[in-house]
């Protein structure tokens, strides 16, 4: 305080006097400027502005951007936009909406149509445009347009609607878009979205939403009494979303879908060279086009309660016991750990007594004395019971993990499941019970606690085929702007390496080749004349945990599996097929895989032939050009040969043109 008093005694506010008087003027003048401006607006322009306020129909009209297209690896459109018509109404101060809607309903009746109004139509409030009908037909459009005079405030709006060309076939992998939910609006990622915006909810649509969605534009428009626009005062064009070029192939997608007609399950194909997802199908599916305009709640209810789980992408979220497809892992583990050699043989008499139980082979009469190669080819269960027994569950789990099993592959889709690779510790934690030796035997043939997703299986087999590289599956090749500038390129991502010896890999790979191409092999369905497929059948038992512990007898309603890659020595495609309740793998899942692989090589051959033809055509054209040239240069000489060095350059150009 004393310090303050000292200050006080010598404080002299007069040193600020000049500044205060300047301020006094400054403040008075600036507030006077406000007053003058108010005078100008209210008195001088008052009448004019009052008129404008009475006729004020200036409003903002949002223009939604076009969502980017999803395009397959060959340039085929998988998802695009299609115009659709909505009816909106702008209620006026002296206008009875209910009456207008009744009039409209009357016009509909005259044409024998029902008028479906949205819920929002009932709650319409003054001066805010509401949608009263969505996605109307051409006939309905004609009604509304021809009666525009009798329907004041009613307008037709053209809105782009998402269209999935393959419909159900790509439902799970592409996903769908629909209006953003209040919960989603609250999250941090959706800060750039607002109510009424559409957002990718599932699949690639969700993963790539930020690239696809574009930026809204808008118009600042003046409308007349009936809500029709008189003039545009300002406009900001929307910016369309970017296009995404996917790794998927529309033809493979279709072939797989059709091959699984009437079945439930999934199929997924990868390119072992870079992890690209070539095909991904899940059945039963839903029609993604239904979701565009808001799916009726009854339909949603039906889909979400369907026991066939149509909303689940089974290729990544369906968890199945791998059955005999797991023998690939068991074989690799056995060889690597040295518990077997290629020559180690076991005798199969159709069953193996172990403890107080009998573990049966699917072949009741037995396989006789078999070593690794034949055991894989004929899928001998007894052989693998023996190998599994020698390895134990934890060593098996180690090799399963090496191949990326039992954990999500990291594909950019929501809802991927990790599956389950059991160990002794896991069982103790989960069931508070020690591991039983018999359970190890079950593991040998892919039964027991094992649960894997189709994409994990495809990825593991791809890794066996490509020399041990486990890629993170990729769905997107690149993002392109509308004028085809590349915005972002998705490089292959190596997730892990399954480090096993070349020797082991060759042994198992040739055994898998035998499955499809040797006599007595279970994968005969995949025997192409090129003999280029390697794969493994599988039959997964669908029984409860408890039942499974009691018996390994084959049950009805088994899931059929087939996993394969081709060409066997330099794979370009790896595929996993699961047909739920399909019985034996070789007979139901095999043909699906076969059709997809056939289609893949058919397309490849066709493309090569086309390229060759284009090359030939280019050569011909070149020859002709050269002919003309030489004829011009030396008219007396005979027509010359085409110039070979110029050929290659032209060919590339031609190829591009033909695409």
């Amino acid at each position: 305080m004393s310090e303050n008093h000292n200050r006080l005694s010598r404080y002299d506010s007069s040193r600020f006097r000049k500044k205060f008087s300047i301020l006094l003027w400054l403040i008075s003048v600036s507030l006077s400027v406000l007053m003058v401006r108010m005078w100008y607006l209210q008195i001088i322009k008052g009448e004019e502005l009052r008129q404008r306020s009475e006729n004020n129909r200036i409003r903002i009209h949002e223009i939604k951007p076009l969502r980017g297209a999803l395009i397959d690896s060959n340039g085929v459109f998988l998802a695009g936009n299609q115009p659709c018509f909505d009816v909106t109404i702008i209620p006026g101060s002296n206008r009875d909406i209910k009456a207008v809607l009744r009039t409209m309903e009357g016009f509909y009746r005259e044409q024998g149509l029902d008028f479906y109004r949205t819920e929002a139509a009932e709650k319409a409030r003054s001066f805010i445009s509401v949608k009263v009908a969505k996605n109307i037909s051409r006939q309905e459009l004609a009604i509304v347009e021809s009666h525009s005079v009798e329907l004041p405030g009613v307008a037709v709006e053209v809105v782009p609607v998402r269209r999935y060309i393959l419909g159900e076939m790509t439902a799970h992998v592409l996903g769908y878009v629909s209006e953003i939910s209040p919960e989603e609006l609250k999250t941090d990622e959706s800060r750039t979205y607002k109510q009424g915006d559409r957002i990718g909810k599932f699949g690639i649509e969700r993963f790539l939403d930020k690239y696809l969605k574009g930026v809204s534009g808008g118009e600042h428009v003046e409308v007349n009494v009936s809500g029709r626009r008189v003039r545009v005062l300002g406009k900001v064009d929307p910016v369309s979303g970017h296009n995404a070029i996917l790794t998927l192939d529309a033809d493979l997608q279709r072939v797989a879908w059709e091959a699984m007609e009437g079945r439930a399950g999934s199929a997924v194909a990868l390119d072992p060279r870079d992890g690209s997802v070539l095909m991904m199908v899940s059945k039963p599916a839903f029609d993604p086009n239904l979701f565009n305009q808001g799916i009726p709640s009854s339909e949603w209810e039906r889909l979400s309660k369907d026991p066939g789980r149509p909303l689940e992408n089974k290729a990544i979220a369906g968890q199945y016991p791998p059955g005999s497809t797991y023998k690939m892992i068991v074989a690799v583990a056995g060889l690597e750990e040295g518990v077997i050699t290629p020559d180690t043989a076991f005798t199969c008499s159709g069953s193996l007594p172990f403890g107080n139980r009998v573990y049966r082979c699917w072949q009741k009469k037995g396989h006789g004395r078999v070593s690794l190669h034949r055991a894989v080819v004929q899928s001998c269960d007894v052989y693998f019971y023996n190998v599994a027994r020698l390895l134990g569950p934890d060593t098996l789990a180690k090799y399963a993990r090496k191949f990326g099993l039992g954990e999500p592959t990291g594909i950019d889709l929501l809802g991927e499941k990790g599956g389950l690779v059991p160990t002794k510790d896991w069982k103790l934690r989960r069931f508070k019970e020690p591991w039983q030796a018999g359970e190890t035997l079950s593991l040998g043939i892919g039964q027991g606690f094992n649960l894997l997703t189709p994409i994990q299986l495809a990825s593991a087999y791809a890794a066996l085929g490509n020399g041990g590289i486990i890629y993170r599956p990729k769905l997107v090749k690149r993002i392109e702007t509308l004028d085809r500038q590349i915005l972002k390129e998705y490089e292959p991502q190596i997730k892990a390496k399954a480090d096993i010896s070349d020797e082991t890999r060759e042994l198992v790979r040739s055994a898998l080749w035998g499955v499809c191409n040797e006599g007595g092999g279970t994968g005969g369905a995949l025997r192409r004349k090129e003999a280029d497929v390697a794969g493994k059948t599988g039959t997964a038992q669908v029984v409860t945990m408890k039942e499974r512990e009691q018996s390994v007898a084959h049950q009805f309603r088994d899931h059929a599996l087939f996993v394969a890659f081709a060409p066997w020595d330099k794979p370009e495609i790896a595929i996993a097929v699961v047909v739920e309740h399909g019985g034996h793998g070789g007979s139901t899942a095999g043909p699906v895989a076969r059709k997809v692989i056939d289609e893949y090589f058919r397309k490849k051959a066709a493309a090569a032939a086309q390229a060759k033809a284009a090359q030939a055509k280019a050569a011909q054209a070149k020859a002709k050009a050269a002919e003309v040239k030489t004829a011009e240069a030396k008219p007396d000489e005979a027509p010359g040969k085409p110039q070979p060095e110029a050929q290659s350059g032209r060919t590339e150009e031609d190829e591009e043109e033909s695409e």
């Binding site: 406000l34 209210q42 502005l49 750039t192 300002g234």
Partner: protein
């Protein structure tokens, strides 16, 4: 603290009357503005605003009662506390409507940046008292106050709340010019600022550049601020001389004007009460500001002068920028109109500030011994 009879004897009744009059107009106006907004079940916003007004009165009483020289001893801690709130908000605040400005406590939201406006004035006043010198300040003595303003400035820009951030800078500049800055220092600051601006511009993100460009030229954004301006001008102008009458402003009642209960509240008032009402309100503001200047001028110590000056300048700039924006002569920037815009934080903080003005006003007599 013992009650001093002189607090009542020399009480600044004029200041109280002006502020209560402005607040009264404010609540009445919020009542009108809120009618078209309030859902059937929810509590009308004017009730909330009235509760905030009562809270403001309580804070006013406190800031009036405690000797400002005593408050001054805690100016730095108070300032640091308010900055800490900003930091906490920055780190943990929930993002609503794309910005991060509020704490929500029991249904009432609180905006720390409003508080910082006042605590900054207190902290700066203290600094210039402690560092009091003869003549003008040079840059060596001004770097600390600069830090005091730049730190919250950056946090508030990040929210993003360009308006509030600008008010902080303008208030700071006003106070520095008032205490005096050497001509050479001023020239250095201005030229280096001009030189640095293009460099900073390069570091801004595209959307930030866009925001600044639209601020300078609202026509670039005909759907956002451009729309606001046109609708606001129509609202004000259509009020004419006498106004359309209470609750009869079509522009705002029919919701042509977005945000009309906050930043564009003056257009609601001018539409319904016309030139007569608008002028009356402007005169009340003028009276308040000039009265604040008078208090600053007649304070018996430098501290009182500086605090009163800072508060008065804060009021002046907010009134000038907000009404200027509503009348279409200042670019659109989110600054509330003191005592009228809907929002508790601004109202309570400003009423607390008015309490400080009364505090300084009444104690000039008590210091005359």
């Amino acid at each position: 603290m013992k009650f001093d009879r002189r607090l009542l004897l020399n009480f600044d009744w004029i200041l109280l009357m002006i502020v209560v009059a402005i607040c009264g107009i404010g609540i009445l106006n919020i009542y009108s503005a809120g009618i078209s907004l309030t859902a059937a079940k929810a509590e009308p916003i004017y009730v909330k605003q009235f509760i905030w007004f009562l809270v403001g009165l309580a804070f006013m009483l406190v800031s009036f009662g405690i000797d400002y020289r005593l408050i001054n001893q805690y100016s730095y801690p108070i300032y640091i506390f308010s900055i800490a709130l900003l930091v906490v908000l920055f780190l943990f605040g929930e993002i609503t409507r794309g910005t991060q400005r509020w704490f929500v406590i029991a249904g009432f939201s609180f905006q720390p940046s409003e508080l910082v406006k006042l605590t900054l004035i207190l902290a700066l006043s203290k600094y210039f008292c402690v560092q009091e010198i003869e003549g003008d300040y040079n840059l060596r003595r001004l770097w600390l106050p600069a830090v005091m303003v730049v730190f919250p400035f950056l946090l508030i820009m990040k929210q993003p709340d360009l308006g509030t951030a600008m008010v902080l800078i303008i208030t700071f500049v006003s106070m520095v010019l008032f205490v005096g800055i050497r001509l050479r220092s001023l020239i250095t600051v201005v030229t280096s600022g001009l030189l640095l601006a293009p460099v900073c511009w390069m570091f801004l993100k595209d959307y930030q550049k866009e925001r600044i460009m639209t601020f300078l030229d609202p026509e670039m954004d005909p759907l956002g601020s451009g729309y606001h301006i046109i609708q606001s001008i129509i609202a004000v102008g259509s009020g004419g001389f006498l106004g359309k009458g209470f609750l009869k402003g079509t522009q705002s009642q029919l919701r042509f004007l977005p945000e009309h209960q906050t930043d564009f509240i003056f257009s609601v008032f001018a539409e319904e009460w016309g030139f007569i009402g608008g002028s009356l309100l402007l005169i009340l503001f003028l009276a308040l500001i000039l009265w604040g200047l008078r208090i600053a001028q007649h304070s018996r110590d430098l501290l009182g002068t500086l605090i009163a000056f800072g508060i008065t300048m804060l009021l002046f700039w907010e009134v000038l920028i907000n009404i200027g924006m509503v009348l279409g002569i200042v670019p659109v920037v989110g600054i509330p109109l003191p005592f009228l815009s809907y929002g508790g934080s601004s109202l309570v903080v400003l009423m607390t500030a008015v309490g400080l003005l009364m505090n300084i006003s009444v104690r000039r007599y008590m210091l005359q011994r």
